[in-house]
């Protein structure tokens, strides 16, 4: 009976997913059945405790703020002007807006530590623009979710910090080590975007190059928009405000610019802005609430630990170990948000890695990239749910479009896994290894 209920909820979960039960409800139902029927389980009331847990973490608090800011950026004309500028910069390239999406996530990496927040914002900001320029919705969502893998790897990143609290590696070393892998992912994704865009004829949006005069006008027009990331960078770098507050300030700023400078934001928009932000936030946070409940069951049954212990037993080659860790984390990361998986698994895996003589900074970066890729990958990645939720993308379309990107991300992961020199270059240069 106990044995049965250790695994049955996972089976139930999959069945429910395929019955078109909304993802959040499916997780809640599977967890509830466990709580009610397993002889091992905790008091069922604790499910409710887990459901509100995500809403009391300052990390997740940034989600509604950046979601809301993204909505207002759209209504106030800021996004549009940035797109015009981007169009002038890279519009003549094949797959131009896809490149913008990827580069923007890299830049956002310096501001935000969360792949989900980045996905949420760019799903609001960029996906509609990409669709307008002829990209398929699913492809736009996939580029957004894939490029969001860069954001937590470029410091600051939540998973980088969680790893260093669980191992003995300093956060500074983890941060130095994050830059180059982040840039590697960016370059890889841009090459892939170029290739696919070329094949599909995702045409440049302009045939002629812009005149300096046109470009100057667009630049001037977009200067208020360009100040947003600068403002956020400055504010965060100098500790003036936190990411959540940066979201709040972006909201205020976007309102002021939209209403008084671009004069596109009207009172009539308020209701639509609030409702759009509310429903987008609720959709994402409800899934997180379900995931928190589900992970309570998984943690309670020690399932992630059991799986990894079973696999690790009997492996003695560091290369085989790294390869298996990659596979393991991709699988486990599907069920957890990256942070939770890191907290659970790092204490377990780090001693094994250490005993095999693997550099712990390198190992940490491999773990972090793994967990963010798991967030991108179907069928349960959190970035996937976020972008599909916000953009109303069908998940089966997403899955189809995600395959080449999955291949590219796993390719980078394997290169970074087996050539530690790339990860260690910057920490070595800065003497932090």
């Amino acid at each position: 009976m106990e044995q049965l209920w250790t695994w049955l909820p996972i089976v139930i979960l999959f069945v429910l997913f395929f019955m078109r039960v909304p993802v959040a409800f499916a997780m809640l139902i599977a967890t509830a059945l466990y709580f009610v029927f397993s002889p091992n389980a905790m008091n069922v009331l604790l499910m409710c405790q887990k459901m509100v847990a995500a809403n009391s973490s300052f990390v997740f608090l940034a989600i509604p703020f950046f979601t809301c800011a993204g909505v207002i950026f759209n209504y106030s004309g800021i996004t549009h002007r940035l797109m015009v500028l981007a169009d002038m910069l890279v519009g003549h390239l094949v797959g131009g807006l896809g490149h913008v999406n990827i580069v923007l996530s890299t830049l956002m990496g310096g501001l935000s530590g969360s792949a989900i927040a980045d996905t949420a914002m760019e799903s609001k900001m960029l996906v509609p623009e990409m669709e307008r320029m002829g990209y398929s919705k699913a492809y736009s969502c996939v580029v957004t979710a894939a490029s969001a893998c860069i954001t937590p790897i470029i410091p600051p990143g939540i998973v980088l910090i969680l790893y260093s609290t669980a191992s003995n590696v300093s956060v500074a070393s983890m941060f130095y080590a994050g830059y180059l892998p982040g840039l590697c992912i960016m370059a890889t994704l841009m090459i892939l975007n170029y290739a696919i865009s070329k094949k599909r004829n995702y045409r440049p949006s302009r045939t002629e190059r812009v005149t300096p005069r046109e470009f100057g006008r667009a630049l001037l027009d977009a200067v208020w928009a360009l100040m947003v990331p600068f403002g956020i960078v400055m504010g965060l770098r100098f500790g003036a405000f936190t990411p959540t507050e940066a979201g709040a300030i972006s909201i205020l700023y976007a309102i002021l610019v939209g209403a008084f400078i671009y004069k596109e934001l009207k009172f009539a928009h308020i209701k639509a802005i609030i409702m759009e932000s509310l429903t987008a936030t609720a959709g994402v946070m409800f899934i997180l609430a379900g995931a928190q409940a589900l992970s309570a069951y998984l943690t309670w049954e020690r399932i992630p630990m059991m799986i990894s212990e079973a696999i690790i037993n009997g492996i003695h080659s560091p290369y085989l170990f790294l390869l298996i860790v990659n596979i393991l984390l991709l699988a486990i990361g599907c069920f957890f948000d990256g942070g939770a998986a890191m907290i659970l698994l790092a204490p377990l895996l780090v001693p094994v890695a250490q005993s095999m003589g693997i550099n712990l900074i390198h190992f940490g970066i491999v773990m972090c990239i793994n967990l963010t890729i798991a967030g991108f990958s179907p069928p349960f990645g959190s970035q996937m749910f976020t972008t599909c939720g916000i953009c109303n993308c069908r998940i089966e379309d997403y899955i189809r479009e995600s395959l080449p990107y999955m291949g590219a991300l796993v390719g980078v992961l394997l290169v970074l896994t087996f050539i530690p020199g790339i990860v260690m270059l910057v920490p070595n240069l800065l003497g932090a290894s």
């Binding site: 044995q3 887990k50 847990a53 300052f58 600051p156 609290t165 956060v171």
Partner: protein, 331 residues
């Protein structure tokens, strides 16, 4: 234990402990939600504690340690215990004030002055009454383990209480911790331990307080640079479980738990005392500036703290003071 498919088909009635005739009671597995990480010295100590406990109880009590509060935030785990779960919380008395308000009084800054004074409190009638009240709320206090003396950790040097003004001091989300942050002169900001490093590096908080080993093992020294020896609190962690689960243990297991806990309470006094100097040195070696400060202003500010707690039993603070005075006088 990983079972094969045949095990899942086993008749659950066959495992019914009521039918068994063996003398050994069924093992109770307690999941311990350690707030500290696995690099903290306490991780190893608690590992030994649970090993000893398992041996002393003849295998009736088994402990599993979950580091970095991976079972959930402290408040949630205490609540789980109160609801009858087999979890053990690593908290402090300020958290338990949600169940017995008077317990926060023991956390008053500058009340306890020496680590071993906790034994006087532990054995006092006023404290035992609080524990009885706590049992009625569903919680059983196993031990109060000494952790070290708590100091302030900031980004800049502090020479007077006025310098703390405006600093957002990370603290646990309890009324007493907020009062402590205010006593130190700053604004409290409530953040879970597991999110504190990130909060400090992002400016969500710009100061923290705690014992040296916690500062070091959480790497707060990478984002903060100055320890100010305010010595505002002699810190103890309360080890708490469900009173319902405790009552289901056999008498032998209860005795084993009480004895092992008492033994380790003594051991923590020595272990934590020794290790704090070592971690202070580690912080200094890592480039942290440790400076002492005239505590008069803080002690003065601490005097008004009891006024902020109208829900305390009248006179409880004075009673605790009397217990401590007596203990000091007897020495």
């Amino acid at each position: 234990a990983c079972g094969g498919g045949t095990d899942s088909n086993a008749n659950p009635g066959g495992e019914n402990p009521g039918g068994g005739q063996s003398a050994a009671a069924e093992a109770t597995t307690l999941k311990f939600n350690l707030v500290k990480s696995n690099t903290d010295p306490q991780y190893e100590w608690y590992g030994r504690f649970f090993d000893d406990l398992e041996a002393a109880s003849n295998g009736e009590i088994v402990g599993e340690i979950y580091t970095t509060e991976s079972l959930g935030p402290t408040a949630d785990v205490i609540e789980q215990a109160a609801l009858g779960e087999r979890v053990v919380a690593d908290c402090d008395l300020a958290w338990l004030a949600n169940y017995v308000p008077d317990m926060a009084a023991i956390m008053s800054p500058y009340l306890i002055q020496k680590p071993e004074e906790i034994m006087a409190i532990w054995n006092s009638e006023v404290f035992q009454d609080m524990c009885t009240e706590l049992e009625a709320q569903g919680l059983h206090l196993i031990a109060l383990n000494y952790e070290g003396t708590r100091n302030l950790l900031t980004k800049k040097d502090i020479t007077s209480r006025a310098d703390v003004n405006g600093l957002k001091i990370r603290c646990a989300s309890t009324t007493m911790w907020n009062a402590v942050a205010e006593m130190l002169g700053g604004n409290p900001t409530n953040i879970a331990m597991s999110e504190t490093y990130q909060a400090l590096s992002q400016g969500v908080a710009d100061a923290a307080e705690g014992v040296y080993s916690v500062m070091y093992s959480n790497k707060w020294n990478e984002v903060l640079s100055h320890v100010i020896e305010t010595e505002h609190l002699v810190g103890y962690t309360a080890i708490v479980m469900s009173s319902e689960v405790y009552s289901t243990l056999s008498d032998a297991a209860k005795a084993a738990m009480d004895e092992t806990a008492q033994k380790y309470m003594q051991e923590f006094l020595e272990l934590s005392g020794g290790v704090q100097d070592e971690y202070k040195q580690k912080l200094i070696d890592a480039g942290v500036q440790v400076s002492s400060i005239d505590k008069t202003e803080f002690i003065e500010a601490a005097k008004s703290i009891p006024d902020k707690f109208p829900d305390w039993t009248p006179g409880v603070y004075d009673e605790l003071t009397a217990v401590l005075e007596e203990a000091r006088g007897n020495k």
